[in-house]
Symmetry: C2
Subunit: 245 residues, 2 copies
Amino acid sequence: MTADDAAPAAASTPPGRSADRVHEQVKAMAVTYRLRPGERVNEVELARALGVSRTPLREALNRLAAEGFLIATANRGYTVRPLDPKRVLTLYEYRAMLEVGALRLAAERATDAELAALEAFAERSRDEPDDDIQALRLLALDEQFHERLAQLSANEEMVRSLRSLNERVRFIRWIDMRKGRRPTTQQEHLQILRHLRARDAEAAAQLMTRHITRRLEEISEMIRAGFAEIYTDNALAAQAMGDVA
Amino acid sequence: MTADDAAPAAASTPPGRSADRVHEQVKAMAVTYRLRPGERVNEVELARALGVSRTPLREALNRLAAEGFLIATANRGYTVRPLDPKRVLTLYEYRAMLEVGALRLAAERATDAELAALEAFAERSRDEPDDDIQALRLLALDEQFHERLAQLSANEEMVRSLRSLNERVRFIRWIDMRKGRRPTTQQEHLQILRHLRARDAEAAAQLMTRHITRRLEEISEMIRAGFAEIYTDNALAAQAMGDVA
DNA sequence: GTATTCAGAACTGTATTCACTTTTCCCTCC
DNA sequence: GGAGGGAAAAGTGAATACAGTTCTGAATAC
């Protein structure tokens, strides 16, 4: 292994399957809507932009379609799945159900030590600075909290699904989170954990339901307020999203 | 297995993307374990057996990996995901949670007409013959019932997930179902629907939980009894599964 | 002015070829 | 006889070439 491998991959292509790298890159482009919904993905153009041939790109596109980020149409290639309001609500509803289900399992299975570790994490997160520019970092921390909590369910498939769901709603949550009403979020995380440590699954589940549902309502509001500005000129955001993700 | 077991290739290739066709074919081979877990998938051999080049085959393998049927390893291609007991329980647990969640939504959203239509379907299913050879057909009907019920939740993503889960546990359910204790199944389906028509979500949810959990216990039992014979010589079954799916 | 047709361009889907990695297996050495 | 080494074979990953479809736009008919 040479010293170059440690350097942040800028020009030289990092090792590993390029299809995997491309998969991540295109996913970031899709979830941040740098690739606009409804717009067809031009394979030769995108391949050239990413510095690979069409073959690994197509593998990535295939996977992304299987994961629900893209839509494949015969002889017409791929398009980014539009972020229509109905789908956002559907995904959020699913997420709520999934997280509450995982939480109930976690209440039975998590050890006290695991809960304590997660609590420490939640408290560290609370002390993060809250500059508006950090919204992305905060979102990442929030996702991590929910994922780690789901992991305590010891159900790998649920964790996998939650991760996928989070990726798919990340953009809209990011928009939402810039409105900076985070204190309650962090507070509720800690409270959920307290219920868990008391092994009160019911109380924890109810709080979690409220926790997610409240966001769902805010987002519904936002959607009603208008989608128009959402897709406009978020190249910078997209850049940042890619870095964090 | 030899290459010749696969579907006849030369015989008139149906229209449409061959990658899609191959995707279905290989999926059938994976879920029925004609491709044995742990065994590497030889791309050139399988491609030749299916009468296509490696390109569309690899697209199919990619998708199947994203869907959880296969595992991809760098520079070592794909293997069928093993059917270890822990994973079966995980998938079943997930399925139970998902179905109960969907059911609760269905209780709020389904119209009386929709429930009546599903009830008619359940009654037709009950009158199907029960020769042991029909176990596959009965399984298909059972899956259909549960999927249609989930559709009444009006949450497309949940339906999508359920479908995927069903495919992944289909094999083990088929083994289980040949023990022919179906009458209770059908009876419970109808009873769940009666609770729904009465808009008693709680009763319906509890019954559904029992309905699935009981199977989970039977399957756990079966797993304890030993997995050894499961993988042995089910070429015929595989054929039939492919036809039904 | 509008609709239609049809050839050429653009693009997707598949096959083939090339590059690189892993596995196999024979040979050597101890 | 067993361990290690190393070429050859086999296999995967990526690039290129080819085939078939869809899109575009100008010419033509009405």
